[in-house]
């Protein structure tokens, strides 16, 4: 079993050079995030990842969680690790200062969370859900609810969950049936069944704060009749102490393909007459409230893709350096070499490495835009940053997670036969990655969001943000075309950019007139955008690395970055032609087969 080592050098490079972290430190409220603090946080968080979380990852996978009579027990070691996570104050890192958080930037949080997710994704789902619940309450709940729940949730003593899905309401939340009936005392009686509730029940914290979507008796049908409620596992007394057990129970937990360490609960509300719930914000606005946290939630799932890809790469690399097998082609010594000396294994390692680095770059860069959208003192800058974030989120979520499955699969391939054997540990990353393209909006949903709301139906004009983004990439291509050392990267990026432009124009033309054809190309368009923007970040990285080398730096990391960017340009960017053709010329082939002939 390989140990996980946080890729701090690349993280630092991406944060500082590509995501322009100094510009974030300059934003009001983020002054404390100076380079030395960032360094210290990354170091200590990385230590927590390698020493506490990573050793439990395989254990969580093998043992999973147990559910007996409504009581869910996490895998051995998880409870203690969570305790330590809370004691060390890590849970509070990105939370608002007014509720006891440290209020650190999203870009830095992304880097830190990447290390923890790499170390143990199943474990980290618990704090991630808590974070989502905290954000929902912070933005929309009354002061009374905030004061009751937020300090404990920020500290991590209480965890949070999101209860959206029901058996008949998956991607289509208009089908939600859970009921909320107002009571004389201002509370609500909640009844209904919720499924797929991540960390919906467990033994790691003293209370669990469920956020539940339900309908009031007089609510209009569809998405406009859904309200959001806080439904705690234990009711909270006026003095803040825990009171009676609420009428909710974990009916069972799911047997899943991956993330075994994370219990996925079926939650039954109101089997004894109704669970006590408290309305968050206004009635019938619940779904809208959920959407306010969507960018952060989707960024976080995209980050899971980056994290699993990195872990799979480290695992495969360790094996490729160790396993001796055959004499490489053209090697006259006649001596068998380790796998890394064989060209095809090299290709697979470069594939994993370059894609992971491109994904990390794109994600941190997007996270940095979120910080600017939030805190930049210039309203125009805030607006531009927000538009970029809105456009990039489905791309980051969809592209990073889809890629992570392929990368983890390549990791297994490098291992050969033992990769298929569970004890090797390579397969866990692929099984864990498999959910990431599904939850928090499937790739299909991301694609539809991208070509619809974010492109053709963009409020500030159809395709406006996509165009501004292409302009930035074009500038990079022009710079590269004049650069003797990086000319070839620029050439590939230029071709890829032209494909993106062609596909975008086709999308804008066809979105209204031929919606089925446009939606048939939604996911290819998402992957195309991810490949081009990821390739752009790698090209920027190459420019910066080359400049630093030309200035005399002997840092071998920079040399590696340059070669990795070249690989991405040569092997990943050419995929854009396939995506573009599939979008502009392939929709008929998707739709023409008569349903009866399937």
């Amino acid at each position: 079993m390989s140990t996980y080592i946080p890729p701090v050098r690349d993280m630092r490079f991406v944060l500082n050079e590509l995501a322009d972290f100094p510009s974030i430190t300059a934003l009001p409220g983020y002054e404390e995030s100076t380079p030395d603090l960032v360094e210290a946080i990354m170091d200590e968080a990385g230590k927590f990842a390698s020493e506490v979380l990573a050793p439990l990852n395989a254990q969580g996978d093998r043992q999973g969680c147990q559910c007996k009579d409504g009581v869910v027990t996490a895998a051995d070691g998880f409870r203690d690790a969570y305790q330590l996570f809370v004691e060390t104050g890590w849970n509070a890192m990105p939370c608002a200062v007014e509720y006891g958080g440290q209020g650190l930037p999203t870009a830095l949080t992304a880097a830190v969370h990447e290390t923890w997710k790499s170390a143990n994704l199943a474990f980290m789902l618990c704090p991630m859900l808590t974070m989502g619940a905290i954000e929902a309450l912070r933005h929309h709940a009354s002061d009374e609810i905030k004061n009751t729940y937020l300090p404990k949730m920020v500290e991590g003593k209480w965890t949070g969950t999101m209860n959206l899905t029901e058996p008949q309401a998956g991607s289509d939340l208009s089908q939600i049936r859970a009921k909320a009936v107002p009571q004389a005392d201002g509370t609500y009686r909640i009844t209904g069944t919720k499924i797929f509730i991540t960390w919906g029940e467990h033994d790691m914290a003293e209370n669990i704060v469920h956020l539940v979507l339900a309908r009031l008796p007089d609510a209009p049908a569809g998405v406009k009749g859904i309200s959001l409620f806080v439904v705690p596992k234990f009711l909270v007394n006026n003095d803040g102490s825990l009171g009676a057990r609420n009428d909710l129970i974990c009916a069972s937990i799911e047997h899943k393909m991956g993330i075994h360490g994370s219990p996925t609960a079926v939650m039954a509300y109101g089997e004894k007459g109704g669970a006590t719930g408290y309305l968050v914000g206004e009635a019938n606005k619940g779904l809208g409230y959920m959407f306010t946290m969507m960018n952060h939630a989707r960024l976080n799932v995209g980050l899971e893709g980056v994290a699993l890809a990195e872990r799979a790469y480290q695992h495969a690399l360790a094996y490729a350096r160790e396993r001796v097998q055959s004499v490489p082609a053209g090697d006259k010594s006649g001596v068998a070499k380790t796998l890394i000396h064989h060209a095809d294994v090299r290709r697979m390692l470069m594939d994993m490495k370059s894609r992971t680095e491109a994904m990390r770059a794109l994600l941190y860069w997007t996270a940095a835009q979120m910080d600017h959208a939030q805190r930049n003192p210039d309203p125009a800058m805030r607006q531009t940053a927000q538009a970029t974030v809105d456009f990039m989120i489905p791309v980051v979520k969809g592209w990073c997670t889809e890629s992570s499955i392929e990368i983890a699969s390549t990791g297994i391939q490098i291992h050969g036969g033992v990769g298929f054997i569970e004890e090797t540990g390579a397969s866990q990353y692929m099984r864990d990655a498999r959910i990431t393209t599904i939850y928090e909006g499937t790739t299909g949903i991301q694609g539809n969001d991208l070509i619809g709301r974010k492109l053709a139906k963009e409020k500030s004009g159809p395709g406006a943000t996509a165009k501004a983004l292409r302009q930035q990439i074009k500038t990079c291509v022009e710079e590269l075309s004049k650069d003797k050392q990086l000319y070839s990267i620029g050439k590939q990026l230029g071709v890829a950019l032209a494909d993106l432009e062609t596909a975008t124009e086709w999308m804008l033309e066809n979105y209204d007139s031929n919606p089925q054809a446009a939606h048939a190309g939604a996911v290819p368009y998402l992957l195309l955008t991810g490949t081009v923007t990821g390739g752009w970040q790698m090209a920027r990285a190459a420019q910066i690395a080359q400049r630093q080398i030309n200035e005399g730096s002997a840092d071998t990391f920079l040399q590696a970055k340059l070669e990795t960017a070249r690989y991405f340009a040569a092997h990943q960017l050419p995929k854009t032609m396939g995506y573009c053709t599939a979008i502009t010329e392939g929709s008929d082939a998707v739709l023409s087969l008569d349903e009866s002939l399937f």
Partner: protein, 249 residues
């Protein structure tokens, strides 16, 4: 009572080191560096003595390049009060570090100098002993328990035959073994506070200390690969092989 703790920045213990192609050393380029784990135990022990009201100030020192500041910040986050970096890009061998520690001890006048029994990079296990000799202080190496009272330190040492208990008059040098304590993880609020604690950088060049290496590294090689074992028919055959082939008995 003031305690000085010496910490070293080393290759992280999780990193699988690789020998450089020219055999001049191990490859440190872009390798994760951390505090020597034995030194973490030293800083933890000092902070516990402060928390117990026995020590009043914990000062942490490191000698080496500017990046050692990161290691010192880690110590500050665990609970040290202030830090000193004796800065130099030169290769430092145990004797050089011991000389630096002597100079700092003379200035700071601590009652205890604590450090790890050895560093996981070169495994020298010499700096504490040399510093004690240069200072003329008593020393207790391989400590697995440390009690300080009435100007005296009582130390249980891990020795080959078992445990040895010794008493030392302060000031003294103590080097820590693995079982002394289990170092805590720094909390996020303390990491943020550590940033504001004083960190004094003093160039070694200005200290008037000769840090020139006394030992020369000829070459560094990977340990020999383990060759396959064999089965022997009986005890007699085993003894014969140990005697004649392995020449160990």
């Amino acid at each position: 009572m003031k305690i000085l703790v010496a910490v070293k920045r080393v290759v992280d213990f999780n990193v699988k080191v690789r020998v450089k192609a020219d055999q001049s050393g191990v490859d440190l380029a872009n390798v994760k560096m951390s505090m020597n784990p034995f030194d973490e135990i030293a800083i933890e022990e000092a902070v516990r003595l402060k928390e117990a009201g026995i020590a009043t100030e914990v000062v942490v020192i490191s000698a080496g390049p500017t990046q050692c500041q990161e290691t010192l910040r880690t110590a500050l986050a665990i609970g040290a009060d202030r830090a000193i970096l004796a800065e130099t890009d030169a290769e430092l061998q145990p004797l050089a570090v011991a000389k630096i520690l002597k100079a700092v001890c003379e200035k700071e006048q601590p009652q205890l100098l604590i450090m790890g029994k050895q560093a996981i990079d070169d495994d020298s296990n010499q700096t504490g002993q040399m510093a004690a000799a240069l200072l003329g202080w008593p020393q207790a190496t391989f400590a697995s328990k440390l009690t300080v009272a009435n100007g005296e330190a009582t130390v249980i040492r891990e020795v080959d035959g078992g445990l040895e208990t010794i008493a030392l008059t302060l000031p003294a040098v103590v080097t820590t073994d693995l079982r002394l304590n289990e170092p805590r993880y720094a909390t996020l609020p303390n990491i943020m506070k550590a940033k504001k604690k004083p960190l004094d950088v003093q160039p070694v060049a200005a200290m008037g200390i000769d840090v020139a290496p006394r030992l020369k590294t000829l070459k560094v090689t990977e340990p020999p690969k383990r060759s396959g074992g064999i089965k022997v028919a009986d005890v007699a055959a085993l003894v014969a092989k140990l005697k004649n082939e392995a020449k160990v008995i």
